[in-house]
């Protein structure tokens, strides 16, 4: 059974546990070869700076479509000094029912290939999109610390990843919209463009753009619901989420078909301005996710560093719960350098939530001490000695 089949009627049912029962690496970052046997418990990786902890999390993040948690170029992932190919293999336990996954860059006759391959149970899959039928991976890394104060594009990407984990078709929609938009930008730059060609391509932008906006709205509404179930002033403060974007806002008051017509009209009248600007000045590629610290009624960007981190953790945990509920399976949660930076009380709260979710959470830190409270509830590895 795939996730698509199990999405309905799962709103309240308990999710089936899913975990990685084995992880293998070949020529991945600093690992020439590695094979790790795992059980369903959370995974704790501790070791000195540069030991290879984040690299392991990055490897797991390639079990979802896209460029992984570092958003790296695929060529940079290959081990320096290797032949340019790399591979991550994993076996799923629990609800994954012994699915064997292999992904990476193969070595072709002319050197490393350009696209990431995926094999499911030793059979090639058409695209890495197929991974979402088996498991979902969500993550939080130190690189996301500046999310609330950084550019809107980072929050938009964060949001679209959240949507993708609850709605696997979202990636296709975003790609289709962007492809149509790039085509239109090119046509406008050419000046000679046929008007009915522009009209045709704008119809595609409107269709996919409104679908993108609608999916984001739905995800944000669901996520807000999941956040509302938690204690608002608990260890991880409740976040109030708002989508800022012309299409997302327009969908508040009008049916999708009406918004689509209006956006198509706006694109047609905006051709001159867009041509002059060299880009499209209106659309879902400019939307933003506004986050407010609910108990303090303070916009996230004005919160303290620690408060921002706690807000972000709260969002990621609520999202993990939502993904479990909608997909019927617990997601793999990657938390790079999260636990060690929390005060003991929040850390204990985090562990309790993760154990309660029943998901295989992967956590890193330089010291084992902060994780001793987990005891046998987790599997501990010293990196690199225990690998």
């Amino acid at each position: 059974m795939t996730l698509h089949d199990s999405q309905l009627g799962r709103e309240t049912g308990a999710a089936e546990a899913l975990w990685l029962s084995a992880l293998g690496l070949a020529n991945f970052r600093n690992y020439e070869r590695l094979s790790l046997a795992l059980d369903r418990r959370p995974v704790v990786l501790t070791g000195p700076n540069g030991a290879g902890k984040t690299n392991l999390l990055e490897a797991v993040s390639f079990l979802s479509p896209g460029r992984g948690l570092r958003r790296a170029r695929l060529a940079d992932v290959a081990r320096r000094g290797g032949d340019g190919s790399w591979a991550v293999t994993a076996t799923l336990g629990g609800a994954g029912d012994d699915v064997a996954i292999g992904t990476g860059i193969a070595l072709g006759p002319e050197g490393p290939e350009a696209t990431r391959q995926l094999r499911l149970n030793r059979t090639p899959a058409e695209s890495t999109q197929a991974l979402l039928e088996h498991l979902r991976v969500v993550w939080l890394t130190p690189a996301m610390d500046g999310l609330f104060t950084g550019p809107a594009s980072d929050r938009r990407r964060f949001l679209d990843r959240l949507v993708l984990a609850v709605d696997p078709r979202h990636g296709e929609r975003v790609n289709a919209f962007e492809r149509a938009m790039r085509g239109r930008n090119r046509l406008l730059a050419d000046h000679t463009a046929d008007r009915s060609w522009l009209t045709a391509i704008e119809a595609q932008m409107a269709e996919h753009g409104v679908a993108v906006a609608a999916a984001r709205r739905e995800c944000v509404a669901l996520l807000a619901g999941a956040i509302a179930e938690t204690q608002p002033d608990g260890p991880f403060p409740a976040a109030r989420l708002a989508l800022e974007g012309t299409l997302e806002t327009a969908l508040d008051g009008a049916p999708a078909s009406g918004v689509e017509d209006r956006y198509r009209g706006a694109l047609a009248t905006g051709r001159g301005a867009d041509r002059a600007a060299g880009r499209t000045l209106d659309g879902p590629h400019l939307s933003d996710l506004a986050v407010v610290h609910a108990p303090k009624a303070m916009e996230a960007a004005s919160c303290s560093t620690g408060e921002q981190k706690a807000l972000l953790i709260g969002i990621v945990l609520a999202h993990a719960r939502l993904v479990a509920r909608l997909s019927g399976r617990t997601p793999i949660v990657l938390l790079d350098e999260v636990a060690a930076h929390l005060d003991p009380e929040r850390r204990a709260a985090l562990f309790a939530i993760l154990v309660g979710l029943g998901c295989q959470a992967w956590m890193t830190g330089t010291e084992p001490a902060p994780f001793t409270a987990l005891g046998d509830a987790a599997q501990h590895f010293a990196v690199p000695e225990d690998l």
Binding site: E172, A176, R184, W197, T199
Partner: protein, 201 residues
């Protein structure tokens, strides 16, 4: 660099075979060896068949299909409905639809899709010829069997616009063709479902 195991004539054969879809360098090597070992049963007749193909293959001046006659077998088939035209991106799609065998119509091969990013515009496709054909042959129904990609759907929209003034019903494939789906890769069952449930554009 690996050493050559055979003379340049054989290496050339391997190199050409490896350019065929579905054949990588390794399988091309196997295929070449197989051809050479079965020289009389396979290599000679294949060479002859290819020579004939080189001599006879033409692009149909009506629909853009490839065949050994112009008009092609499909265009000259009198049992086909002359008033129904199925518009496809390329010959591979035409052949895929013929394999599914659900249509008793004639085709029109566009030769690609509108794609600003690839520099393909209306003049690079046989869209004018399509419009001409529709009026000249009194076509009453056009089915746009283009792929469910951004480019395919943009092209479908563009063609619908160009046909707007003519007394013709325009529909497109609906169900079963996934977004980003390529017709050539769909199984026959999905294709016939898509054709049965075509919708007005």
């Amino acid at each position: 660099m690996s050493r050559a195991v055979a003379g340049p004539e054989i290496e050339r054969l391997i190199q050409l075979l490896s350019k065929l879809p579905g054949l990588g360098p390794r399988s091309a090597r196997r295929a070449a060896l197989h051809l050479i070992q079965k020289k009389d049963q396979l290599l000679v007749p294949l060479t002859q068949a290819m020579e004939v193909a080189v001599d006879r293959v033409v692009v149909c001046s009506r629909c853009g299909n490839v065949d050994t006659s112009d008009p092609c077998t499909i265009c000259s088939d009198q049992r086909r409905d002359p008033h129904m035209l199925v518009v496809v991106e390329d010959v591979a799609d035409l052949w895929a639809l013929e394999r599914a065998g659900v249509l008793n119509a004639r085709y029109h091969v566009l030769g690609g899709t509108l794609s600003p990013l690839d520099g393909v515009g209306p003049d690079d496709l046989s869209i004018d010829a399509l419009v001409e054909r529709v009026s000249a042959d009194a076509v009453t129904e056009v089915i746009l069997a283009v792929n469910a990609t951004v480019e395919g759907q943009t092209t479908a929209h563009f063609i619908t616009d160009r046909l707007a003034g003519l007394p013709v019903k325009v529909s497109r494939l609906a169900h079963g063709v996934p977004v980003g789906g390529e017709l050539d890769y769909l199984d026959e069952g999905t294709l016939s479902a898509a054709i049965r449930s075509r919708t007005p554009f």
